[in-house]
């Protein structure tokens, strides 16, 4: 296990530099003149330009600039938005909301996926199975840009079951509909994976042994099959976090939830480059760390992974 952790950490270091470098290069490659963009239409004198260039390290080479950006990221200095607010401060305010929304979505998706997945895995080809398969297909076909506004329109505005938008502190009731919408991003895949692995495990020898021992069917499925079927579902969650982050941008925008995605969207709309890059960098780092944790968890659960 120790060797696996070390190898995985080394990989993570490489991926960190690679991913941040790509994000940085995508954003800042051949920008015409950032200082002129900062000043707008006003002319910049040579002395002003010299001071600003020194302050923002613009007179350095591309790699030195990248180094300044990475060391900023590592020390928690994510820069300032164009409005002058430090990005770390905006993040500190927005994070809790997004984490709550994402966790809520993960829980809802997991409960539905595992529940329905086990049921349809047990009776493959039955009416329930067919219905869930058709339903997951429909859900897969609905991008969040379709689902979020429609859900808001139908359940928030026309039926009035849920609040159509969230307030500043975004309580759980206000987050329920957005979390449902966000959860649909991942529920279909999770459900299908659960279904397949339940169906596979039901044929395994240990299940036959458990049945032969005379265990109640409830215990065979609830303990023996479920525990082994959930391993692939857990790895999916690591991948899912990335999808959830992307989905949160649109969902938070539609439902007016003051989280990370909402701020990012506002950054895009107001052409706030530093804000967008700062937020995206932090999200990429969070995604990397979560994937690391999930991989380690997976290795702890399934010894085969460690000896690959």
């Amino acid at each position: 296990m120790f060797r696996y952790i070390v190898r995985r950490l080394l990989q993570m270091v490489l991926t960190f530099f690679g991913a941040t470098f790509i994000v940085y290069a995508l954003m800042f490659a051949n920008v015409d003149d950032p200082l002129q963009a900062l000043a707008g239409d006003r002319p910049i004198t040579d002395s002003q330009r010299a001071v600003l260039e020194a302050r923002y390290h613009l007179d350095d080479g591309f790699f030195t600039q990248y180094w300044h950006y990475v060391s900023g990221l590592l020390t928690g200095d994510f820069g300032q938005s164009l409005t002058g607010r430090p990005i770390s401060e905006m993040l500190a305010q927005a994070w809790p909301v997004t984490v709550r929304l994402a966790l809520f979505a993960i829980v809802i998706a997991a409960v539905i996926a595992v529940g329905a997945g086990v049921l349809s895995g047990i009776r493959r080809g039955g009416a329930f199975d067919t219905a869930t398969l058709v339903l997951t297909l429909l859900v897969l076909a609905m991008p969040i840009v379709v689902l979020a506004p429609l859900a808001q329109l139908v359940f928030g505005i026309q039926l009035g079951w849920f609040p159509p938008t969230a307030t500043r502190d975004a309580n759980l009731y206000e987050l329920l509909l957005p979390a449902l919408v966000l959860g649909t991003l991942v529920v279909a895949t999770e459900l299908r994976v659960t279904r397949t692995s339940v169906a596979e495990n039901l044929r395994a020898d240990y299940v036959r042994t458990a049945r032969a021992k005379g265990l109640a069917p409830k215990r065979v499925i609830g303990v023996h099959v479920l525990r082994n079927s959930l391993i692939p579902v857990i790895t999916l969650i690591g991948v899912d976090i990335g999808a959830l982050m992307s989905g949160a941008v649109v969902t938070e925008g539609v439902f007016n939830i003051p989280g990370v995605g909402f701020n990012l969207l506002r950054g895009i709309r107001t052409e706030d480059g530093p804000l967008v890059v700062g937020f995206v960098s932090v999200l990429v780092i969070v995604f990397l760390v979560i994937n690391l944790i999930v991989d380690l968890l997976y290795a702890a659960l399934d010894p085969r992974i460690r000896y690959e």
């Binding site: 991008p143 480059g273 999200l283």
Partner: protein, 299 residues
């Protein structure tokens, strides 16, 4: 996969069947495939000849008609700028298809080259390319796309079509490359490749004539799925304001514009959504059916 084909050829002696031929025979008997195919054909016709579906110019807007309901001329009513929602939705198919098909081709080309080189040559080249793919996968798709699309679409004159194609293409090739790589590795150890190599075939000839045709099945499947993903991706980017813009007509743009007015007029929001979801659904179903046909093991 090759084992299955070997078996089926033995069962039907006298008539040799290719992988594509087998797949077609399998596809023909599937209901899902036909539903998807009909949907895709309708969407393609709509994309190439929108005037077959409507005689109204989607850019003929009149503020006086703002949010007017459905009438004889306008099936779905008018949006907040007084444009015909039906005409706009029909014309929206074109850019959507153009963008997603081109982006898929770009991604497919990059994935093909990277996967083929990494799989065939192996060694340090494979290690380097595979690490690069890992790094690309560490960036959540939409986040990377937002940054890149924002950078590319800075020019206020353009309608953003090229920017979105490049964005989706440059960020979407990783799965295709991975699948291509493993398919190539599987194919290059086959006996017929060794035989061709012993006959003195050059690496280029081996790759293009012998390995590629046999590694193509899974690759095509990935590209079909990618088409659906790219359609959704284009709509999402346009919705966020970093995709198509200006005089481009896009379902994503229409949804974004109609959102704030959903309380007064739901039609302009609902219809582009329905068309978008139906298109994505068609490509997902097509991808599912094609995958099952090309890879019997997955059934």
């Amino acid at each position: 996969m090759s084992d299955y084909n070997a078996v089926s050829t033995v069962e039907a002696p006298g008539k040799s069947r290719t992988l594509a031929g087998d797949a077609w025979l399998d596809l023909r008997s599937r209901k899902v495939f036909w539903i998807a195919a009909v949907l895709v054909v309708v969407i393609l016709v709509m994309a190439f000849w929108p005037s077959l579906f409507t005689s109204v110019d989607p850019r003929d807007c009149l503020l006086a008609r703002k949010h007017a309901g459905a009438s004889g001329g306008a099936l779905f009513g008018y949006d907040f700028q007084g444009c015909d929602v039906y005409a706009k939705t029909v014309y929206g198919a074109r850019d959507s298809i153009v963008v997603s098909v081109s982006a898929t081709l770009v991604a497919g080309l990059i994935g093909l080259v990277v996967g083929l080189l990494a799989g065939y040559f192996g060694g340090w080249l494979d290690a380097l390319l595979s690490r690069f793919v890992d790094v690309m996968l560490a960036i959540p798709f939409l986040l990377g796309a937002i940054v890149l699309a924002k950078r590319l679409s800075a020019d206020p004159q353009s309608n953003g079509i090229v920017a979105v194609i490049v964005t989706l293409g440059v960020l979407g090739w990783t799965t295709a490359a991975r699948v291509m790589r493993s398919a190539v590795i599987e194919a290059k150890n086959q006996d017929y490749v060794t035989a061709a190599r012993m006959l003195g075939a050059s690496p280029a000839r081996l790759m293009l004539r012998h390995i590629l045709p046999n590694a193509f099945g899974p690759f095509i499947v990935v590209l079909t799925v990618l088409l659906g993903i790219n359609i959704a991706g284009e709509a999402t980017l346009s919705y966020l304001g970093v995709g198509l813009k200006g005089d481009a007509i896009s379902w994503g743009l229409a949804i974004a514009e109609a959102g704030p007015y959903a309380r007064t007029a739901a039609g302009p929001l609902v219809w582009p959504s329905v068309f978008l979801a139906a298109t994505v659904l068609a490509f997902i179903m097509l991808g599912d059916a094609v995958r099952d046909a090309f890879d019997p093991k997955l059934r």
